[in-house]
């Protein structure tokens, strides 16, 4: 049952929110022992929230557009009085004294938070294996990863443990797990959704977005969580999106570009498997058949994205994660001096991948290395913005595979960080440019696992993206 169907049933009184929530909590109970999608299930809180929604309906008041819809929250979004861990030992015992803006907006829309979902520690990873609380498994094949870093949120929706969920996407952390789990995942334009209360990884790249089983649900959630927030200075002061209204407009006359450098063909980055290439090509053909024009477009700097990203994101992370020092919150390992206490706390509290990125980022910002590393990465960002701007003069949207492969087996890539990092080669460019991107399921690969196709557009092109995504969803095999 889609989120919009649930909301319609609850709003009309046909079904109680309490009944809906009980159904989802029962499924979590039955399935999550195996999947480990949730760090924390909020059964009591969810029942209380559902009862409040039912009371609103009974009183004849408007319970909101997402009334009674069970939502799962990635565990890097602050929830007042409820543990928020980033799947890290270093936040042990910490309960934020405030709600993230998105959490407030969902609650105000009547959605019911059923739990906090697992992630790669501090959202650093592409498989949800870097979690202090153990890996999340892919509900479609429990021996495979769900992708990451928002693997818990993707798995929860794919397994029906939540109707919708929120993830955060710094280099593909919504879109890649959506592709791996066969659900819809949207990374909005940077600044379209408030980051207030999202525990930062790479501040200039992070963006919150929804997972859902349908494009329409995704649009409905983005309408609720999007819009200006005075608490986030990078939040765009623009009218909220009107997305559900454009879903039936079709793609007649839309210009779609195949992004040459991320297509698997000549001049492309390597590693995109042929079954994934085929599905992306089939998606382009389907859009053409539905009335869009399709052409190949070149953005040469797209191949530099991965290198630039692995300087910018760790650099910002090295600074963002400094505050986890044992002084004010979370884990503290006592030691004779303040400096030794900080070192001991950070040594015990952070996992290997987080430490690796803090070191990478610290190095990239160091005196004498800044220009060669961080400074150069900023230049790549500027170049990419210019080249994508040129591309969007030729086409309305770009189409690429979401990830180079389908979901891989657990443990397959943990030994070599580089094989893990290339997972994000197709998604990273839009984080560096701040542009929106959506992943829509489009058939399966040779291994029977889902393939995701990604639609990219310029800043604030969400309506066009949803318009095309709705067509892709309809014609998908």
């Amino acid at each position: 049952m889609s989120a919009l169907d649930i909301a319609a049933a609850v709003r009309s009184g046909e079904r109680s929110a309490a009944d809906v929530v009980d159904e989802y909590l029962a499924r979590i109970d039955a399935r999550d022992g195996e999947l480990n999608a949730f760090n924390l299930v909020l059964a009591e809180e969810a029942r209380a929230a559902a009862a409040a929604v039912d009371a609103t309906v009974a009183a004849g008041d408007d319970p909101g557009p997402l009334a009674g819809v069970p939502v799962a929250l990635k565990d890097n979004m602050c929830t007042r009085g409820v543990a928020t861990t980033c799947s890290s030992k270093i936040l042990e015992g910490w309960q934020p004294p405030y709600d993230a803006t998105v959490v407030e907006r969902l609650a105000a829309a009547g959605a019911v938070a059923v739990g906090k979902t697992n992630l790669d520690e501090f959202a650093m990873g592409s498989s949800t294996e870097n979690s202090a609380f153990g890996p999340t498994r892919n509900p479609l094949d429990v021996d495979r990863v769900p992708g990451g870093s928002s693997g818990g949120s993707a798995a929860a929706v794919a397994a029906g443990l939540a109707a919708i969920s929120l993830g955060s996407d710094t280099g593909g952390s919504i879109r890649q797990p959506a592709a791996f789990c066969g659900v819809v995942g949207m990374k909005p334009t940077y600044g379209a959704v408030s980051r207030y209360g999202l525990i930062a990884f790479g501040s200039s790249l992070d963006q919150i977005g929804p997972f859902s089983t349908s494009v329409a649900d995704s649009a409905a959630v983005l309408e609720v969580i999007g819009g200006h927030d005075p608490l986030d200075s990078t939040s765009i002061d623009a009218p909220t999106f009107d997305l559900q209204a454009v879903l039936d407009r079709g793609v007649e006359g839309l210009r779609i570009g195949i992004l040459r450098e991320l297509s698997g063909g000549p001049d492309s980055v390597e590693g995109i498997t042929s079954d994934v290439q085929d599905r992306a090509a089939a998606a382009a053909a389907a859009l053409e058949a539905a009335g869009a024009s399709v052409q190949e477009v070149s953005v040469p700097s797209a191949t530099l994205g991965l290198s630039a990203y692995y300087l910018v994101a760790p650099a910002e992370a090295s600074s963002n994660l400094s505050r986890f020092d044992g002084v004010r919150f979370g884990l503290r390992i006592d030691a004779p001096t303040t400096g030794e206490m900080m070192t001991a706390t950070r040594t015990a509290g952070f996992g290997t991948e987080v430490k690796r990125r803090i070191m990478l980022g610290t190095y990239a910002l160091s005196a004498g290395y800044y220009d060669a590393f961080y400074g150069k990465a900023l230049k790549v960002r500027t170049l990419m913005l210019a080249e994508f701007a040129t591309a969007y003069e030729q086409v309305d949207l770009l189409l690429t595979p979401t990830a180079p492969t389908t979901a891989f087996p657990l443990g397959e890539r943990t030994a070599d960080p580089m094989t893990m990092y290339v997972n994000d080669v197709c998604t990273i460019p839009s984080n560096l440019t701040g542009h929106p991107g959506i992943s829509v399921p489009f058939g399966v690969g040779d291994d029977g696992m889902p393939v995701g196709v990604q639609l990219l557009g310029p800043a604030l092109s969400e309506p066009t993206i949803y318009q095309a995504a709705a067509v892709l969803e309809e014609v998908a095999p």
């Binding site: 602050c78 999202l198 930062a200 600074s319 505050r323 020092d325 919150f329 610290t362 160091s366 005196a367």
Partner: protein, 484 residues
């Protein structure tokens, strides 16, 4: 420690000083959050997720801070530039995020200058916006972070807006360093962006000190002096540090570049943090804030609303009067120059107005005194209606707002009536008659005796008139009678 010998710099050495002044801006709220920017005795009460650096919190720029900073920049003749905030990364428990948000290579204000009263011009390199840290108290051990038993952190001050004003190393004398800080404080008060109290820490001065042989233009190794809590202390610290450098050079040693802690009680500086593990602050642009892009219209509005600055105000009073410079300086510093100008405009003698204000209006609230009433008071005194002592008392009543602040009503209520000079003369003749020995000594050539007896006669007259006689008229009459 006035009993101790204060060292002085040998004549063949020249002082080279640059000052870094941190000023707390007097805004309602902090730099990046809505917490009150006010002193609180209860620790950790003016705090929120943002100034505590809690995970997920974000900064939002306080626009008043930017306005105040630009106002200060323009008052110092700086040019205003588009700017970005940067992160200065270092671990310290009172720096909530373990980085300070500050302006680095793109400050708002650049290239200004500050003219001292004697005409010396000190270049201003920059005046940039940054946030303050919390306050750490180390308990036990030596009271320093490395040997304390435990430390307490109060984050009330975390995120308080600061402007750091960095001068060029243009200062060559201790007096100029003190004058620079004093002038800067007067400007801050005049443009109302800070209460600028060194003793309370809302204005903090660090001095970069080095020396060089007279005639040389080199810049030698400098030391940064911290913990200077008053202008007097600044002078002592610079003098001490310069002499320390000279001593080192003269014994074929050299100072090390380091931060040093001024010990006011001990009258010396001690080595602070060692620079061996050289700090690398890994500055980069703050991604959570957007660039500041002041428009020419904003700058024009600031210039248009700029009050007349202390130097110009002193010059104006200086043109109108012949009193000493320090009298004018005091009146301007207390922002009583508008009052003085009002009284002068209303016809009172400029010198008398300024002297009366400087001597007798050192009070917190003098809002009940107007130019007109002050002029009336001064004229009453000049015309002999009031003695100097009476005028002082009447002014105190005026400041307190008694009798509507009207000097005539106050004088009447107090029963002050200046003695007619005839009556005064009669009284003096009577006293001379009654005290022939004292009068003889007054008229003698012995200067000491004459002074003593002048005091005697004046005292007797004041006693007889209950203080209503005009001291000057008495002195004049006594002198005339002894001559005649």
């Amino acid at each position: 420690m006035t009993g101790l010998h204060e060292p002085t710099l040998p004549a063949e050495w020249e002082l080279v000083v640059g000052l870094e002044v941190h000023v707390e801006l007097a805004t309602q709220t902090k730099l990046f959050c809505g917490c009150a920017n006010e002193f609180s005795t209860e620790p950790n009460t003016n705090v929120c997720p943002t100034c505590l650096g809690l995970p997920g919190s974000l900064p939002v720029m306080n626009e008043t801070v930017v306005d105040f900073a630009m106002r200060l920049g323009r008052a110092l003749g700086c040019s205003i530039h588009p700017s970005v905030m940067a992160r200065k990364n270092y671990f310290y428990p009172d720096m909530a995020k373990d980085f300070q948000t500050t302006q680095y290579d793109q400050p708002t204000n650049r290239d200004g200058e500050l003219a001292l009263a004697d005409g010396t011009v000190v270049g201003i390199e920059r005046a940039h916006i940054e946030e303050d840290a919390g306050k750490t108290t180390h308990v036990g051990g030596g009271g320093r972070i490395n040997d304390a038993t435990y430390s307490l952190v109060d984050y009330n001050r975390a995120g308080v807006p600061l402007v750091e004003i960095v001068s060029h190393p243009d200062i060559r004398t201790v007096e100029h360093a003190k004058a620079y800080v004093s002038e800067l404080r007067d400007i801050l008060l005049a443009i109302a962006v800070s209460d600028a109290k060194m003793e309370e820490g809302s204005m903090r001065v660090d001095a970069n000190v080095s020396v060089r042989p007279v005639g040389s233009s080199e810049l030698r190794t400098r030391c940064e002096l911290k913990n200077i809590n008053s202008i007097r202390s600044l002078g002592r610290a610079i003098e001490y540090e310069a002499c320390r450098h000279v001593d080192l050079y003269e014994s074929d040693e050299a100072p090390r570049q380091e931060t040093r802690h001024w010990d006011e009680d001990g009258g010396r500086s001690t080595a602070g943090r060692s620079k061996e593990d050289a700090d690398d602050y890994r500055y980069f642009q703050e991604p959570d804030l957007v660039p500041l892009t002041p428009t020419p219209e904003q700058v024009a509005a600031i210039d248009g609303a700029m009050p007349v600055l202390p130097a110009a105000r002193r010059a104006r009073l200086g043109e109108l009067s012949a009193v000493a410079d320090d009298v004018v300086a005091t009146v301007v510093e207390r922002c009583q120059d508008a009052l003085a100008l009002g009284a002068i405009e209303a016809g009172a003698d400029a010198d008398k107005v300024l002297t009366r204000i400087q001597n007798d209006l050192a009070v917190d609230d003098w809002s009940a005194v107007t130019g007109q009433t002050l002029a009336t008071l001064v004229q009453m005194e000049s015309g002999g209606e009031l003695s100097a002592t009476q005028a002082k008392q009447v002014l105190a009543d005026m400041a307190a707002g008694n009798h509507g602040g009207d000097p005539k009503s106050i004088a009447e209520a107090r029963g002050f009536e200046a003695m007619e000079s005839d009556a005064l003369e009669t009284l003096i003749d009577q006293l001379i008659n009654d005290n022939p020995d004292e009068w003889f000594r007054f008229t003698s050539d012995d200067e000491g005796d004459r002074k003593k007896m002048q005091g005697f006669f004046t005292g007797q007259i004041m006693k007889a008139t209950k203080g209503q006689a005009d001291g000057r008229a008495v002195a004049e009459l006594l002198s005339r009678k002894s001559a005649g």
